[in-house]
Symmetry: C2
Subunit: 261 residues, 2 copies
Amino acid sequence: MAPHGDKSDAADETMVAKAEKRPISTILIVMAMQSEALPVVNKLNLSEDLQSVFPKGVPWVRYRGFYKDLNINLVCPGKDSSLGVDCVGTVPASLVTYASIQALQPDLIINAGTAGGFKAKGACIGDVYVASDVAFCDRRIPIPVFDLYGLGLRQALSTPNLQKELNLKVGKLSTGDSLHMSTQDEASMVANDAVVKDMEAAAVAYVADLLKVPSVFLKVVIDIKDGEETTAEESSQSFAALERAVTQVTDFINGKCLSDL
Amino acid sequence: MAPHGDKSDAADETMVAKAEKRPISTILIVMAMQSEALPVVNKLNLSEDLQSVFPKGVPWVRYRGFYKDLNINLVCPGKDSSLGVDCVGTVPASLVTYASIQALQPDLIINAGTAGGFKAKGACIGDVYVASDVAFCDRRIPIPVFDLYGLGLRQALSTPNLQKELNLKVGKLSTGDSLHMSTQDEASMVANDAVVKDMEAAAVAYVADLLKVPSVFLKVVIDIKDGEETTAEESSQSFAALERAVTQVTDFINGKCLSDL
């Protein structure tokens, strides 16, 4: 994946090479839940953009600000206008990511949020994962080639230095629009070798790949899919861990090029 | 649902009232499969727009032309650039619908395609359905209010005259990203009282609702979910029925206002 361009393929490749050697400037952070986003907004001292870059009628929210040498844009799909709940899931995440890339031309996307983890794969509540790759777990199209399309496997930007420096766990991420897995979703996640499961990442990756923006997926384990229910205290600790992780990653990125990550 | 505007709510309502009394001018036809779209493209004498209104890199295709008094735009999410198959499903459908509304400001969206039908609900291969309402069948979020958000039930534009004049069947439509239903998807479709099942409509409806564009969902039954497999001849007949249905609906719309439908 490479930065968004508007030239021929050869020119694109030159731009990619240049971008990899240029300090990262504009970051797009995509977070599905506003309650997860607000601690990050406060920590990075961002403010809500009241002159929206988005069309009238959409509930999408952008928080913006400069943090160190970075131009930070944190976007959320916002609240459903009829129901008042966060617009979680793949469709709103893909739309707000698309519109944000078009409006803001970011150098890098960070999709951050809480996720479910698989104990059998070593995940514990509060663990911070950076995804090596992402795929859908609930798009079963058993026709040759369409099956691969449905899976939608995409690699995240390679970030070996970031992972080592911040001591992050690395694993495969599966995305599905249901909070509770069907037997078939579960089989798909086992086939994906997934360690964590969220509701947006593979859709964000799809859009980022279409528009050639490198992406990082940062997920904090808030519940265990194959274990006990999460306590309120554990939930609260996961939210705090998410804010710390996004801040640490942002600090690490500051002043660096894509190839330094 | 009402036409796209850029004014206050009161002004919006006035615009809606006016739009309902103004002949429909610009139509956006959204079709997921290019093989289904091409007979319609040929019949309506549309031509591919080579100076794309879409960003570089996206596979989305637009066919355009004037047919009688209508400015017709038929868009497809196109082929996956790596895999070469049609970009079916909710995420690409929502993106191409969003970008097309932004670029073209249509008066009306027609989402057309083939779909699965339920024999137990009276569907037969080749039947042409116009959806009364659409919902997702694969977004299970068993938390109060989020459950309704996941379902995403939306009413289509009311079209009693169109339905009567063209002798169309009317029924509820469920959308899911899997071709083959899980037990849970099936239970959700029974709960939705669905007669037909496709892979895009509820996502198109979500975007159309966000941006206040009235929408019609026209689906031809190509296979029976609770019955025998479709023969090659039946598939071919369903494609022909889809082309005829889109043409007949377009003919019916020509010269009419939204409130005449």
